[in-house]
Each structure stands twice: as C-alpha cells, then as structure tokens.
C-alpha cells in the first residue's frame, strides 16, 4: 500500500478539503428533553457526540458542595464501538480520559457564571458514539450547546477546533488520519473574541509557526461559533412558533 | 444487647422477657432427618456452625447414592445491623456469594442468582420490622455436583433458597413464611403460603415443558413440600433439643 498523501502539492487533503476548510458540522439541541435539563447532538465530520447536562441540582455528595459557587463535573464515556476497530477496554478511568475530563472542567469553569448557582452541581455527561480525530474540539462544542440548552448562564460561546501543522502549512480541523500523521493543537475560543480558554498542545510545535496555527484556529472557531449560533437561533424560532400556536 | 437507646422510652431496667411453657405435643416431631423422597434426594441440615454470624446454616443435598452428586452450601446471615447514611424505614437486604469453589460459574450468572434470591427474600423477610438496618446474607458454595458440560445452576439455586431460610430462622429474623424451593427438570420454583403463592420462578433452559408453566409449578410444588417438611422438622427438633 502506498503511503497516503496527507497534503498534495495541489493543496488537497486526504478527504478533499483545502488547508483552511472545516469538516461538515451539524448540530441540534434539546435532543434528550426527557433525560436531562439540557442536551445536544453534534456531528463534526465523522465525530458523533451526545452531551447531556443535568443541573444546577443538589450535589449527590456533601463533599461536592461549594457554598459560594456551583461545581461542574464532566463524565466522558467513549464507547467501545466509537472507532473503526472495536476497542478492548471501556476507556473508563483511563488516564487520557481523566485528563480530558479535567481539561473540559477547567475550560468551562471560567466561562459559566458559577457564582449564580451556589451549593449546586452541574453534571455534564458525554457519550462519544463515533470518533474521527479532533475529539476534544467536538466535546467542547457539544458541551457549549448543551449548557445553552440547559439555560445555564454563560459569558459567551466556547467553540473548539483542532489544527495540525504539516511541514509549514497549518491544516484546520483534522480527521484521524491527519491527526496520526502530524502534531496538532486544540483550541477553545471564547465567543467572537481572540481569547482562548483552552490551548492544548500534546506534541511539539515549532514556536515560530505557532502564530499562523493560532490564527487559522481562531478563524475556524469563529466559523464554528457562527454555525452553532445559526442552529440555536433556528431552534429558538421553532420553539417560539410552537409555543404561540 | 446492653446499649441504651436514648430515642425511645424503654421499659424498666429490671424487666424480664416473657417465657412460655413448652407445648407437650411438639415432642413427637422428632424424626430421622435423612428422609428419602421420590427423586431419591436426601438432605442434611446443621444450623449455627458459623459462630460470628447472627445465624447460619449448613446444607448438604445428595441426589442418589454417589457422593459426586452432592451440593454443599453454607449460608450465613449477618444482621440486622445498623446501617450508616440516610434514614431508611426498612432494612436493606443484600445477598452475595462469598466463595465459589467451582470457578466454572461466570460472575455474571452469580450476580443474576443474587438478584433473584434477594428478590425472593425481600418478599419474605419482614423488612419493616428492622428500620435503619442492613441484613447481609453470604453464601459459600462448598461443593457443586460435577456435571460434564456446564455448571448446572438449578440445584444450586434451590439449595440457596432453602439454606437462606434456615439461616434466617437461626438468626431469629422475622420471616412471613418458611419459603422453600422445589426443582423439576431444569426449573426452580420458590413457594410460600403452603404452595399457593410463587415468590420466585427460574427457568433458564429450554425443555419440553415450555408451554405449560402450570404443570411445571405443580411438579415443583411436590418437591417444595418435601423440602419444607425437612426444614421444619429440623427446626422443631433443634428447638426441642435446646430446651
């Protein structure tokens, strides 16, 4: 088998995208109205993620209670069938998963107005049905949507995207083939600003290339924010129409 | 029990428990324990072997003459003991296998049996009588009849039901009835109220009796009555021996 051409001289990637193109992003909210207070279903390329938010509610354990603000907990469930090859382990209590959970909690702690909900807990449950690279960014987008659906006060959207660096070209929104072939960065961008609430670098990136990587990442995140915002407004209008009839 | 309960008004400290005279008629009940039934099954019972448990029973079930076809089960009951945490108006019940000598039985099936047994005994133990407490039942399967292909669960389940009833009686925990199980082919049915009510039905393997559940129950009832007779006779005999 010949080696896959990650980025052709003509400027095309394995799935036919150009360097600055996102994957298909489709999302919907309020998908599990009976099971949770807020829910979302997000498809970013071949990533399929269900996010459920319950709360703010009374903490199950006294130790999880904070008298001044709400506590956020994230439970990430990566199903065994999420990749092409079924995984042997259930990914629970895996180091990588625990790290991702903490990173997500830290990302959203600063963005949610936790002081409005003292003595409560906001539980975020994520089920990854299918993954194809850039999982962390899909999780961020899914959580943002579900938190909005739950009506939890936030300062702004957080939209996530992953960017890879192939030789000197930054590639936006990697799939799993690309992710395995190059080093990548995951961003969580606050709203329309250029503020980052998450910058995840898991391998080496030359520092002088970082600026171009961040630039395309922020632009991509803004585009994702727009797509999510459009869907949310559409959903809002639909609900309003249903209410008035 | 020498703990002062400050939440309730207790009787005077020099109160004595009521003691009734023993009835004369119960003395005649002494009969040999190893009574053979139609399936050539014999049962040996011994209660109170585990000294640190509140109640325990040792049960040996023999099918036929050979010692190979023998089920030995030790059940012990701990409780009612105070449970920590939130208030509960009734006792919580847990049934667990402590030791299984034959590792052939997968753990999932053991969990299924535990769920099944705790469902039966939730219906039979007077749990309202013991608020804020927990009753833990541990089962040790000492010997399992050796079968060629796979573990034959049905005699084990029946032995568990009978063994737990005996252990509960030994622990002095209130039960509504001496529940006992009877087997027929690959079916186990646990009865109460003299065989008019079914508290548990276990049918895991397909056999020719699939569509006629009533006749299965009827056949199990015969076996149940025999097992229960054995249990009650043992209890009366040991009671008489104590006094």
């Amino acid at each position: 088998m010949s080696r896959l051409e990650i980025y052709s001289p003509e400027g095309l990637r394995v799935d036919g995208r150009r360097w600055n193109e996102l994957r298909r992003l489709e999302c919907s909210i309020n998908t599990h109205a009976n099971a949770s207070d807020g829910s979302s279903y997000l498809e970013q390329g071949n990533n399929k993620v269900i996010t459920l938010v319950t709360g703010p509610q009374e903490p199950k354990l006294r130790s999880q209670m904070n008298v001044t603000k709400a506590t956020i907990s994230v439970a990430l469930n990566i199903t065994r069938f999420s990749k092409i090859e079924r995984s042997k382990s259930s990914h629970k209590n895996e180091r990588r998963v625990l790290e991702m959970q903490t990173a997500l909690v830290r990302t959203f702690e600063k963005n949610v107005m936790l002081h409005l909900y003292p003595r409560t807990q906001i539980e975020i449950q994520i089920h990854v049905l299918q993954q194809d690279g850039g999982l962390m960014s899909s999780l961020i987008n899914g959580i943002t949507l579900a938190l909005i659906d739950a009506g939890i006060a936030m300062y702004d959207y957080i939209s996530g995207v992953s960017i890879g660096l192939y030789d000197t070209t930054p590639l936006l929104d990697l799939n799993s083939v690309e992710e395995n072939a190059m080093s990548s960065v995951t961003l969580g961008v606050v709203g329309k600003s250029e503020k980052l609430s998450l910058l995840l670098v898991e391998d080496k990136i030359p520092l002088d290339r970082m600026e171009s990587v961040l630039a395309i990442g922020i632009a991509g995140s803004h585009r994702i924010r727009e797509l999510m915002d459009k869907e949310l407004r559409k959903h809002g209008e639909r609900r309003l129409a249903n209410m008035s009839t | 029990m020498n703990i002062t309960d400050r939440r309730r008004i207790l009787g005077p400290s020099n109160a004595k428990p009521l003691v009734f005279e023993r009835l004369e008629s119960s003395e005649q009940a002494a009969q040999p324990p190893q009574e053979k039934n139609n399936e050539n099954e014999s049962m040996y019972i011994k209660n109170g072997l585990v000294s640190n448990a509140n109640g325990s029973s040792y049960l040996e079930l023999k099918r036929g003459e050979s010692s190979e076809q023998c089920t030995i089960l030790l059940s012990s009951v701990y409780g009612p003991r105070p449970s920590r945490g939130a208030f509960s108006s009734k006792a919580s019940l847990s049934v667990q296998f402590k030791e299984v000598t034959i590792e052939k039985i997968p753990s999932g099936e053991l969990k299924e049996i535990c769920n099944f047994l705790s469902n039966i005994f939730s219906a039979v133990i007077n749990l309202e009588r013991y608020p804020k407490s927990g009753i833990d039942i541990f089962l040790s399967l000492i010997k399992n009849p050796i079968t060629s292909d796979e573990a034959n669960l049905e005699p084990i389940i029946a032995a568990c039901v009978n063994g737990i009833t005996l252990a509960l009686a030994d622990a002095g925990i209130e039960i509504f009835d001496t529940v006992s199980a009877g087997t027929y082919k690959r079916n186990v049915v646990a009865f109460s109220k003299n065989g008019t009510e079914v508290v548990g039905l276990w049918k895991d393997k397909e056999d020719d009796t699939a569509n006629d559940i009533l006749s299965v129950i009827e056949n199990c009832r015969g076996n149940y009555l025999q097992n229960r007779k054995g249990i009650i006779e043992y209890l009366i005999r040991s009671k008489n021996a104590d006094i």
Binding site: H32, S90, H127, Q130 | K90, S107, K111, F116, S122, L214
Partner: protein
C-alpha cells in the same frame, strides 16, 4: 419521580383493580410508543437507537470480526453500559449476563459461518443513555433492530478453505444482510391479579413482582423468570398470574415483531 407512600398505595390499588387503571391510560397489553432509528453509525456493521416515550433511550452497535471458529468458542459478545449505574453493580451485570446468555445460546451460529474455517464474531455493545423503568425490554428491541439492520462484508474467496491456507477475502463495497432470528425479551409487571405489559417506572415501583419472558421462533421460551422491580411491594404471586403473563406475551409478541420488522 419519587412517589410518596400514599401515592404508591393509591397507584397500587388502581393497578390491582379489575380492569387495571394505568396512570397513562394504557390497556394491560399495550406498549408505550417507541421511536426506532437504525443504521446511523457508519463505523459499525449495524446500529440502532430506540427511544421510549418516557425518555428511556438505548443505543446498540453491532461490529463484526473474522475469527477461526475452532479456536473462538463464543461468537457473540454482549457488553452493557447503563449511564448512572456502575459497571460492576449487580443490576448492570445481571442484565448483561442475561442478555449474553440468551443471545449466545439462541442466535443461530450457522448464520455467522463464513467458510469451513472462519466465522464472523459479533460484538454487540449496548449503551443505555437514560433509564427510568427496567430497560431490558427496550434493550432487546434495540438489539433486535440492530441485528436486523446488520450488513456483513460479502465473501468473494472460496468457502472451502480447510486445505488451503488463505484468509477470506471480501468484496470492496458489497454487503450481505445478516439474516438471523433474534430473541426478544419482555418484562411484565404483576399487580394483584393483573398482568401489565411494558411497565412504566411508577408502575414498576408498586408491582408485586416482575416477570421476564423470552420470545423466539414463534413461541415463549426460556429464560422465564421472576424479576425484582422494586423492594417495597414485592410479594408472592399466584401461579395463574405467571401463566397469564406467558399467554399475554403469546398474544402481543407477533404484533411487536411485525411492528419492529416494518422498520
């Protein structure tokens, strides 16, 4: 929702009355409406999602692998994950064990046979996103629809490979539909003398006992067993009720199969 003692007692009385008055107005042999979606996971060979009207939701994925059936004993592996319950809890392990026993003994192994040496091994992963009532019926519906939508790769090499040491090769994109009869598991609640099919969570809370009935190849088969639905109201039931439940399943199961088959 947690019911008070009085509410429970009222509910129990209404369910035990003749005819039973169910809180959602259903008849004793009526199921709740469900929605079924299939084939939404391209990375799996078969997938389905079943959502009940109370929000109970169950996802099933079927993946396959080619194995030497002389070496691998189990050709069906079932894994159950119920959100909100620990994987090692008795509840989850009990359901997983019941399901895997039913599926591995009652699915026809010859349907998975590929060549004389190799077979497909099915990995059936069940994810219950939210469960309010006993999820076994819903899981079994989901497994049924997932297996019926399962597409397996099409073999293009010879199926007689006992003498030749070659691995099976498959067509690049053609699939063959898995054609296998899948058992269904039904849970019923017994309240007084009444038998109720598909009990909702509040009905399960006051049922005298639950019963599990399996349906395969047009008849009720083993395992048939009593099942704890709650801890407060559990009590003995008359043998007649057990027979009634099996009779009820004999009546409704063909209709359920027809409804699931139409998807």
């Amino acid at each position: 929702m947690v019911l008070s003692v009085t509410e429970k007692s009222y509910l129990h009385e209404s369910l035990a009355s003749v005819p039973p008055a169910r809180p959602d107005g259903r008849k004793a042999d009526q199921f709740r409406p469900i929605e079924v979606f299939t084939d939404f996971l391209p990375a799996s060979n078969g997938s389905s999602k079943v959502v009940a009207s109370d929000g109970t939701e169950c996802l099933v994925s079927v993946k396959c692998k080619v194995v030497d059936h002389a070496v691998e004993e189990d050709l069906v592996v079932v894994d159950v994950d119920i959100a909100g319950h620990r994987d090692d809890s008795g509840f989850v392990q009990g359901i997983a064990s019941t399901l895997s026993k039913v599926l591995s003994t009652q699915l026809d192994r010859s349907c998975l046979r590929l060549t004389k040496k190799y077979s497909f091994k099915l990995y059936i992963d069940v994810l219950v996103l939210s469960s309010f009532s006993h999820p076994l019926t819903l899981i079994s519906f989901a497994v049924y629809s997932a297996l019926n939508s399962t597409q397996l790769p099409k073999l293009i090499s010879s199926d007689d490979d006992l003498d030749v040491a070659e691995l099976p090769t498959f067509h690049d994109y053609d699939f063959v539909k898995l054609n296998v009869s899948v058992p269904l598991l039904f849970t019923l609640a017994i309240c007084g003398k009444n038998v109720l099919v598909d009990p909702a969570s509040n009905e399960s809370d006051v049922a005298n006992n639950g019963i599990l009935v399996t349906w395969n190849n047009g008849k009720a088969t083993a395992p048939i067993r009593t099942l704890g639905l709650n801890e407060d109201y559990v009590s003995g039931v008359s043998p007649q009720s057990l027979q009634d439940s099996i009779k009820m399943i004999e009546q409704v199961a063909p209709e359920v199969l027809q409804a699931l088959g139409g998807i």
